[in-house]
Amino acid sequence: MLLWDFVVPRLQLRAALRAARQRTRRAAAPAPTELQR
């Protein structure tokens, strides 16, 4: 129960926050140049 109801939701939360953070970073990064593309 402890694992299923406490650890799993925390891992899900961390994954959701990590995904949101990556999205923010991608949005803030400068657009790739023609050469990088």
Binding site: W4, V8, P9
Partner: protein, 253 residues
């Protein structure tokens, strides 16, 4: 509008719910664990042994609260699903779907503890008795709701389909509740009543009350934590989520 109703409406907004869940989920988990620890101590060390079953009856302090939770959570899930279907409140979809894993876990605990008790008392781990069978069907329904929610890519359609299954599944709850009355069942009848005289001795009840309170709080914490993660996942890309992940830890959001 009364402040309570206004607060309730505000809670339907994803950022407000996120703040609420972030604040209260850890408290609910900690208080739930404490209440269950007090209950477990009372069940193991304070309550006298049963005159017929000896110490093996103590498993009821886990079995009974878990069984009640398995049914109560299903009913709550159906209520959230119905609200989500009628009023299209996104947060109610999230809450309904967050109920299922904890409800399924409580159902597994109910079946497992019943089985562990059944072996020495009935002489068998399992019997296709009406109460046991309907509880097993409840587990399958929980798994069905979880599976359906995971199987459809569009989150809103998935929640709607799984919510419908939850609403239909509610028909099973009265069958579980009265299975021991309607059919000749190996499972014992009702011994603990919320209202009226229980056939269980009063000295055995306080740890049960602690366990019931503890399991409710534990579920509340799990519900908030799961719903918060799903809410953040669904809202990814919205301004409030971006502000939240951009803010340094401890800064006001």
């Amino acid at each position: 509008m009364s402040p309570l109703i206004r607060w309730f409406h505000q809670l339907g907004s994803p950022p407000t719910f996120d703040r609420f869940a972030a604040r209260w989920a850890p408290w609910a988990h900690v208080l739930g664990l404490l209440a269950m620890a007090v209950g477990a101590y009372g069940a193991l060390f304070q309550v006298p042994a049963d005159y017929q079953q000896g110490d093996s009856f103590r498993i009821l302090y886990i079995h009974v609260p878990a069984a009640w939770m398995s049914m109560a959570i299903f009913a709550l899930m159906a209520v959230y699903a119905a609200i989500a279907l009628v009023w299209r409140i996104k947060l109610c979809e999230i809450l309904a779907m967050a109920c299922a894993p904890t409800g399924a876990a409580f159902t597994v605990v109910t079946l497992a503890t019943g089985s562990i008790w059944g072996k020495p008392m009935w002489g068998t781990w399992w019997d296709w008795d009406p109460r046991l069978t309907t509880e097993l069907i409840l587990l399958f329904l929980y798994l069905g709701v979880m599976g359906l929610y995971a199987a459809i890519d569009d989150r809103r359609n998935a929640a709607r389909a799984a919510g419908l299954l939850a609403i239909v599944g509610v028909a099973l709850l009265p069958v579980i509740r009265w299975s021991v009355v309607w059919w000749n069942s190996l499972h014992q009848g009702q011994t603990i009543r919320l209202f009226g005289q229980s056939s269980m001795d009063a000295s055995m009840l306080p740890p049960l009350v602690w366990m019931i309170v503890g399991t409710k709080l534990w579920f509340f914490g799990s519900l908030l934590a799961r719903a918060r993660a799903d809410n953040l996942r669904r809202e990814a890309g919205k301004d409030w989520v971006l502000r939240q992940v951009a803010a340094p830890a401890g800064a006001p959001r």
